[in-house]
């Protein structure tokens, strides 16, 4: 195939530069702001240069918002609970979809896809009333319960495709040897599908971490259960917004999911785009 000439290379790289600037500018500017002293940030018009950059905001933020550590813990805790519960519900269902033929199989799979299209916002009212009746408002459960529901559909689809890759002969051999379905699931499917389970678990964790905001502002008013996406807005409540500390805290808050994702992006993207590529 033909190679790019110099002119084309320059053209493509400048295109990439513009594109990447749009994508990354908020992050770069957040990081830069987190390193600058507050009085440099409060200059108008914007100053591009600061000579005394430091990580001071990363220490000070814990004093400005004393509960910050708790918020980060809450986010982790909530996302882990949601991910584990999602896996518990999804593993048997995904296995059934991968291995059995039954009436309404395809219909129900597409119904699952349709659920993905409903935002949480349309079902918030009954959920609010339900959680209120059960006395679960302002608790961890109020954010975990709806969180799981919205991760089940995609997780079933993802895990189903992993299960389908496991050769059915293995199971049939075990079946002939008298192993039960549960034994097959435990001794053959589970070990072979560990990579898939890890990827789906991490997908659920990232998803749960990302979707906390809506459920948190709607169902929880208690500070001690607040996850980081809502907790961060406490920085705005002060007389003058400490932008540098808020940006530092925001970066710390997004770091876990970012690292997990970059680590496993290949697998997650492969799983999510599989349909798009094959079709």
């Amino acid at each position: 195939m033909d190679k790019y000439n110099l002119f084309e290379k320059i053209l493509i790289y400048s295109g990439i530069l513009v594109f990447m600037t749009f994508i990354l500018l908020p992050f770069v500017e957040m990081f830069y702001a987190s390193l600058r002293p507050l009085d440099h940030l409060f200059r108008s018009p914007y100053q591009f240069y600061s000579d005394d950059l430091s990580f001071w905001a990363y220490q000070e933020m814990w004093n400005t918002v004393p509960m910050l550590g708790r918020y980060i813990f809450n986010s982790f805790f909530l996302a882990s609970c949601v991910a584990i519960l999602t896996l518990i519900f999804v593993i048997p269902a995904a296995y059934a979809y991968a291995r059995f033929k039954f009436p309404a199989k395809n219909t129900s799979l597409y119904l699952l896809l349709a659920i993905n299209m409903f935002s949480g916002a349309v079902i918030l009212i009954p959920l609010y009333k339900l959680l209120r009746t059960l006395g679960l408002l302002n608790s961890y459960q109020s954010m975990i319960i709806p969180g799981v529901a919205f991760l089940i559909p995609t997780s079933i689809w993802l895990l189903k495709s992993y299960f389908e890759k496991i050769p059915i002969d293995l199971e049939e051999a075990a079946f002939v040897d008298g192993a039960s379905r549960v034994q097959i699931l435990r001794h053959i499917i589970a070990p072979l599908s560990t990579p898939g389970l890890v990827v789906v678990g991490i997908y659920a964790f990232i998803g749960a971490y990302a979707q906390q905001f809506l459920f948190a502002i709607t169902f929880n008013q208690k500070k001690e259960y607040m996850p980081i996406p809502t907790g961060l807005y406490e920085f705005i409540g002060y007389q003058s917004v400490k932008w540098n500390e808020m940006m530092a805290a925001a970066l710390v808050g997004m770091l876990p999911v970012l690292l997990l994702f970059i680590f496993l992006q290949k697998y997650i993207v492969e799983g999510l785009t599989a349909g798009a590529v094959k079709n």
Partner: protein, 286 residues
């Protein structure tokens, strides 16, 4: 057997998603609030549809959506083409494009709040220094600029996913098609318009619909940047539904709006699933 394995997930979904959907429809015929509820028939709907404000909100939702989705698709397609070019560093760029998609939206929006800051933000700063702006300008404080600013932030969140899917589709195009075309002397443009584009059209169509659905559902971005303001200029259907239902605890009125949202989403979902079925059919029949 299969049903027993699916049952837990199915029951969970029915309780937490399906039942609330039906309950929302029932509530829309009541004046439900924290105090209690009475059946009021179609009153919520009559009030809603006769209010000029609500009709404005519906129109605004579709305008906002149209611009946001078009921009995501155009920028996503250009981005995918650029990152598909066989040049050094492309694997790094492919990872670097993803953060806006992965990071919690509520946290990413803090960055945009800072960028849009009228006095100290970098965008206003560049504007002032180049003389485009003659003073501080709060992008989220005026009707038109807030409308555009929320769209830009929404495009920022949505573009990475579109790009990644388009890229995956482009990679899936059989290489021999390109090689054959190259041997026949087709230029790079020809190969793009006659091979790549037709080959990825199914993905483009699917992504347009999916993207339309997600954009329609977009809540956090607008809520955080403007809460639907100033003076309602960024209030979309979802924002309005949320405000009515959980801002004022007027569950009945909120539910009526949620039903409108639901019907529109079902139309989108219907289109999407019909399309998916057609594409799959076409592929299995060659």
């Amino acid at each position: 057997m299969a049903y027993a394995l699916i049952a837990p997930a199915a029951i969970y979904i029915i309780l937490i998603v399906a039942w609330p959907l039906l309950e929302t429809i029932r509530l829309s015929f009541t004046n439900s609030s924290l105090a209690g509820e009475d059946y009021v028939g179609l009153e919520n709907y009559q009030k809603m549809f006769s209010s000029k404000k609500f009709n404005g909100i519906v129109t605004r939702t579709f305008v906002w959506m149209f611009f946001s989705v078009s921009l995501k698709l155009i920028i996503g397609l250009i981005g995918a083409v650029l990152l598909n070019a066989n040049l050094k560093g492309r694997s790094i760029f492919r990872v670097l494009v993803m953060p806006p998609w992965v990071v919690p939206i509520a946290i990413g929006m803090l960055g945009w709040l800072w960028l849009y800051n009228g006095y100290f933000g970098i965008i206003a700063g560049v504007g002032m220094r180049t003389g485009i702006l003659d003073g501080p300008f709060g992008f989220l404080a005026y009707k038109q600029s807030a409308f555009i600013s929320t769209i830009v932030a929404d495009v920022w969140v949505g573009t990475p996913m579109v790009t990644v899917f388009f890229l995956a589709a482009m990679q899936g195009v059989p290489r021999d098609l390109y090689e054959a075309a190259y041997c026949d002397g087709a230029s790079r443009w020809d190969r793009f318009f006659k091979i790549t584009l037709p080959q990825i059209t199914p993905v483009i169509i699917t992504m347009s619909l999916l993207s339309a659905i997600w954009t329609f559902n977009s809540f956090e971005i607008i809520w955080i940047l403007t809460e639907g303001g100033p003076r309602g200029s960024t209030t979309t259907l979802i924002i309005d539904t949320y405000k009515q239902a959980l801002g004022n605890y007027k569950f009945g009125r909120g539910a009526a709006r949620a039903v409108v949202v639901m019907i529109l989403l079902m139309l989108f979902a219907g289109f999407y699933l019909a399309l998916l079925a057609r594409i799959n059919k076409k592929i299995s029949h060659g």
